[in-house]
């Protein structure tokens, strides 16, 4: 295995960990931060898979703008998730 493959596999594991963390966390602000971290790692993965075009879009939209919109929405609603 080359170093690039190791980096890609480690990155994929971290992406899955970020996605699981996003769903699992009860504090929605922490959940949004986990989603932003996942988006950033996904952008890195796109770059490693030689799609820099998609990586720029993912970093701009996924990591910056959706995070801002989610945080602004959280400020206007509740921060904690309620048990049904």
């Amino acid at each position: 295995m080359t170093a690039l493959t190791v980096l890609q596999v480690a990155n994929l594991v971290l992406i899955v960990a970020g996605a699981v963390l996003t769903v699992w966390l009860r504090d929605l602000l922490a959940s949004v931060v986990a989603l932003a971290a996942m988006s950033l790692l996904l952008a890195l993965q796109f770059y490693l898979l030689q799609a820099p075009d998609v990586a720029i879009a993912e970093a701009g939209i996924g990591a910056a703008l959706t995070t801002a919109i989610f945080v602004l929405a959280l400020r206007k609603t509740r921060r904690k998730e309620e048990e049904e």
């Binding site: 820099p52 075009d53 703008l65 921060r79």
Partner: protein
């Protein structure tokens, strides 16, 4: 927000604006283009809202809407430039005029494509910026 956030924002905003403009300008040569650069520029608006609050940007909302309309209009007008042949025909390419270069990899090439990249970039920047700004402006804050 705190003085640290505001100072870092003042440093970062020019850099992010230059990077967004670079991504749009080199859209026909390198990865990126109108949409990606516009998203980078819209994240500047989000950064300003986080650092300085949405109230200070309330008056800019109408100008953002105007920029968005200008981008859409510019795109359609540029598409109509080549109506002599077909809709979206690249009439400026190779014409030795504006963006009429023929060298591969030259910034001064591509005909209407770089101008259309600017139109899309302006529209995406203003559109996504408006979305973030309106999300921040409307509805009361609820700190529970």
């Amino acid at each position: 927000m705190s003085v640290v956030v505001r100072t870092v924002t003042r440093l970062l905003v020019p850099l992010a604006l230059i990077f967004g403009a670079y991504v749009i300008m080199h859209g026909h040569l390198t990865p990126g283009g109108g949409f990606q650069g516009g998203a980078v520029l819209a994240s500047v608006v989000a950064l300003l809202i986080v650092a300085f609050g949405a109230e200070r940007l309330r008056r800019r909302q109408t100008s953002l809407t105007s920029v968005e309309d200008l981008g859409a209009l510019m795109f359609v007008v540029l598409a109509f430039v080549g109506i002599g042949s077909t809709f979206f025909y690249n009439a400026l390419a190779g014409a030795r005029g504006l963006f009429g270069g023929t060298e591969a990899g030259s910034l001064w090439a591509g005909g209407t494509v770089p101008l259309m990249n600017w139109a899309v970039g302006l529209k995406v920047m203003a559109g996504l910026g408006s979305i973030v700004l309106l999300m921040a402006l409307f509805g009361g804050d609820d700190d529970r």
